[in-house]
Symmetry: D2
Subunit: 343 residues, 4 copies
């Protein structure tokens, strides 16, 4: 039914290390730590060997997981964690307050879920032009910061990486901060995770475009990227739904008597954990029931791709969530970059 070669060829990428980490055991060259603060989970993964089972680049990966940023109090708490983790990352990378920063917002301003980078950069406090002026003494509590929104290849005809490389060569910042909307490989993470990493931006990242690598290796300055999964691809939605279908059956079987009077669309089975037996799965889903989660993803990818239907999936209130997430990120970045921002 499946072709082993194809499977590898189309192995499904994820931009989030936490997706891989859930599924794999820790191993040589991969270290992790985690903590919790105000219902926010922070996972720190450090990869020290270039060749590793996660198939991820060397570097530090901070994953901040939360429930909701449309709640004001919660957003403030998440912001505090982002500021703290950014400052830690600066310390680790020897980025002191004299180091000049270029902040780059990737993505397409006209597509709501992809506008996160541009919307965040709109609110970054830039100071570089003041530092460039001859007769102005800049308050050193404000770092030398420039920002840039390269747009998308479909609108400019130019790869974002070419634009960014061109600008870096001319203005020579000491480090780069890149904000981007990502594709999630799980419905549960979309708009609920912020990933900060110093491993660079890799080809294939971003919602739409393949892009050349921007990293310490290619630029010789630290590249810190902040990514938020804001969409899922159609094949992920379908395969996640098949898993939820099984859980839904298991839950309803288990709670048959109790639930009789509750409308089916109000029975929240999300935290139900008891799995169906292999036999039950086959009864319900036939051969599909015998496949692993990963195999189902591959299969659905193979079904949707040839007919051009691997669409983009977002929550319905995406415009509001993007407003709140970009507000949170720009405020956190301003505070991490400028000592005096909050006063």
């Amino acid at each position: 039914m499946k072709n082993e070669k194809d499977l590898k060829q189309y192995s499904i990428r994820t931009d989030l290390i936490v997706d891989l980490f859930d599924q794999q055991q820790t191993e040589d060259g991969v270290f992790s730590d985690s903590y919790q603060e105000n219902d926010i989970n922070v996972l720190e993964v450090t990869i020290t060997k270039e060749k590793n089972k996660l198939n991820k680049k060397k570097g530090k990966y901070i994953t901040i997981s939360y429930q909701d940023v449309t709640d004001k109090v919660n957003a403030k708490n998440v912001e505090t964690v982002v500021v703290k983790e950014l400052k830690k990352m600066f310390l680790d990378l020897n980025i002191d307050e004299n180091k000049k920063c270029l902040v780059v917002g990737l993505g397409n301003r006209k597509s709501t879920p992809d506008a996160l980078g541009p919307k965040t950069v709109d609110e970054i406090l830039v100071t570089r032009y003041l530092y460039e002026m001859d007769n102005i003494e800049v308050d050193k509590d404000y770092r030398n910061v420039a920002s840039f929104i390269p747009g998308v290849t479909g609108n400019t005809g130019i790869e974002s990486s070419d634009i960014i490389l061109g600008i870096i060569e001319r203005i020579k910042p000491d480090f780069v901060l890149v904000i981007d909307a990502l594709a999630s490989s799980s419905m549960d993470r979309v708009n609920k995770t912020i990933q900060i990493t110093d491993s660079g931006i890799h080809p294939g990242s971003g919602v739409y475009n393949n892009r050349k690598e921007l990293s310490y290796e290619t630029l010789h300055i630290p590249v810190i990227s902040i990514g938020v999964p804001t969409v899922i691809e159609a094949f992920v939605l379908v395969s996640d739904t098949i898993q939820y279908l099984l859980k839904h059956f298991s839950y309803n079987k288990e709670n048959y008597q109790k639930n009789k009077l509750i409308p089916v669309t109000m029975r929240n089975y999300k935290n139900h954990t008891k799995e169906l037996s292999k036999e039950e799965k086959i009864q319900l889903l036939g051969e599909i029931g015998t496949l692993t989660e990963e195999e189902i993803k591959e299969l659905i990818f193979e079904v949707l791709t040839p007919i051009g239907y691997n669409m983009m999936v977002t929550p319905k209130e995406i415009d509001f969530v993007m407003d709140k997430t970009s507000e949170l990120l720009s405020s956190a970045i301003n505070k991490a970059l400028h000592k005096n921002f909050d006063i």
Copy 2:
């Protein structure tokens, strides 16, 4: 496995008559006609009885189906058909060139697929204020036209229908033209269909909000609505994909020898028609394989709704498609409204 009562309660609505029409036979009180022009299909359905199997309101429903509006030539052809059908509709409803029009763009400007109404109305040529001036003689080849964008309830706190009714009461137009983005009940129609109807805007229409009815019955003036399906809901995507999964199996089985060397993601099986046998379906999909298309939709709806995951699905290039569709619609409406627009 399913609950007959629930099924009715959550019967899945569609804004497009063509979705129902594909599935049902013509019947008493429902008349239809169709023609083709430059690869564009036009289906005209007239419903003359209030009680009908389609469960749709009395009125005329024009469905214009096309492949792509990002191609310039094709967009021009579609525009020509829209102008022609709008003018026919005006004639049917005794809307002569002295009749004053209010054009309303429903939807949320900040959400790419829901911005169709506002973006279209941005380009409508309004003249009403000239007609209201005492000492100006308006060229009668430009109709008296006003326009309005009510925004969405989440941003204003007010139902769109209340805003529109309030304005209609004050400015008293002779007819209303409403543009709205719709949810499609099929992946194949999204951004490939324009529906024009004089049956009014009904509760539950629109991507996001329940809205009070705007129709001849409630307003005592003709209400013509132009709708384009720009999103599908997650449950539609999942259930359509299950159908495509079956087709994919059938195609691959049939073409096993021929396809051996073609990568699986390049085998376009979309127009394959041979269905799997009942036994094959059960082998592949177990009990799910015994359900009808409609039953699978219901089931997936029941799986996604309780966990809050009935998301919104759009093509990845939605921003570009919305630009082109709103250009097409505003140009067509201007030409249908103003005799002299094109000169």
Copy 3:
């Protein structure tokens, strides 16, 4: 040289009471008070007689004058004053926390200096739709608030006042808050003044349009308007410049020795107060030198109007100032309306 009748006919309106107040003495039926807080001046004028020399409607007029809202600390201070004055106004008008509010943003979103109203309303927290839902208990520390952006007549073909009246009739708020960009009659006030008044919005207000009156008299509910002068008309710029020309001469004459080595464009004479003698004025400006400030304004108005050149004047950094002013206003209004907003 001038025609007395014309003068009256084209008497130059101002939206700001402070413009008139500077020039006139207090009189019967006009009471005023003022205070200063963090370099912010607050002038409260109460007009109790319909017929008064200021030719202004009865009501309370609060004028908040400040130097700059692009400075963060200063903006915070101004915001604090606006919140306090709005709450006082609510108290005076018996608007308790159960009263329902409609917030209206007048002006043209596409014209930078006229976008103040729409930009402010974009950030107002609306709750009305929650109050309208049957099964939701709304936290009473959040007032019932709806908001609306009517657009401009040039784009809709409809007068803003008609749109607002239509909506008020349908949703029946207990009071209305209107935000609008005004024309200033002095270069010194532009973007440096906020006027809050309960006297209504009067015909001729706003940068562009004549509008019907929205006031307690016409609507039977309190109408509070918040206006900021964001532009000056060309005739004001020219006549103000002629006054500055005289001051510039006087200053340079006085400081001839002292200034010899200072470039002329760096000699800030703004606070110079010594006036030229009548003879000096005539020597420099001929007959123009004999006119009063008011007469010069009239004359320049008469020069610019017939050739269609009464243009709009704004500071060059208007986009940035509008961002900051709308942020300040929306934050202040949210805090004044919602008890719990700031927590």
Copy 4:
């Protein structure tokens, strides 16, 4: 009263050659030609010597003057002339259809009169990414075109010229097309002139920023710039108004009997040509009446600059004019660049 040294120091720049050309005689090294088409005037000035009285760089300067682009027919006529002149310029510079183009839109999207460049570039058809793909055969009737919007220094902290140079170095276009909003040195030209030149963009161009030179000399590829004056500076408005004041007096004196019953604001004296005598000027305007136009400009510049009031002046309907002008320019550029655009 004035300081000769200051005068030179602050000599008022203009971006438009036509401003200088009106005032000066043709001379050695400066050739000109002109034609008229549908009420549109086209002036072609060629400067062949680096040192010339116009103090302008060597190159060709095309000035297209028209009355109004908000009229559809007129806009079409202007567009036709722009296409023709661009194609002639390409021919002169040996730019054949295989030459790769980078289109750059200078200016600030958030400031209505300065958004011309970004708004025009939004609608440019880009194809470069298709040419970069390995397995795509691009229709050669569509030129290889990329586009870019660098933003303004106040928002990015980076000079536009640095951004553009960085991108040019990476993508190596064969020529550059730059669109920019200019400051006009005359009220009569604002939004009524398009200047096309191959002499490069010079320091001090643009509404707001000083920018490094982008020209054939610095980039070694042709740089064609398209500029439209969309604002005037305050000192220009004031000094132009003083000239109109004199004309207004002259007209009213001349037409005293005839005009008695016409309201003063309706007496269009614009095309009145008879000048006042020197004595009359002095009577009316004192010493100011003895100054030349140029001297008055200098004086007003000296009055406004030290008090920070050299504001920006635009017509009130600037948003509408910018929509129409950017539509005209993007359509003209697309047609000049792509052989097949219009089909």
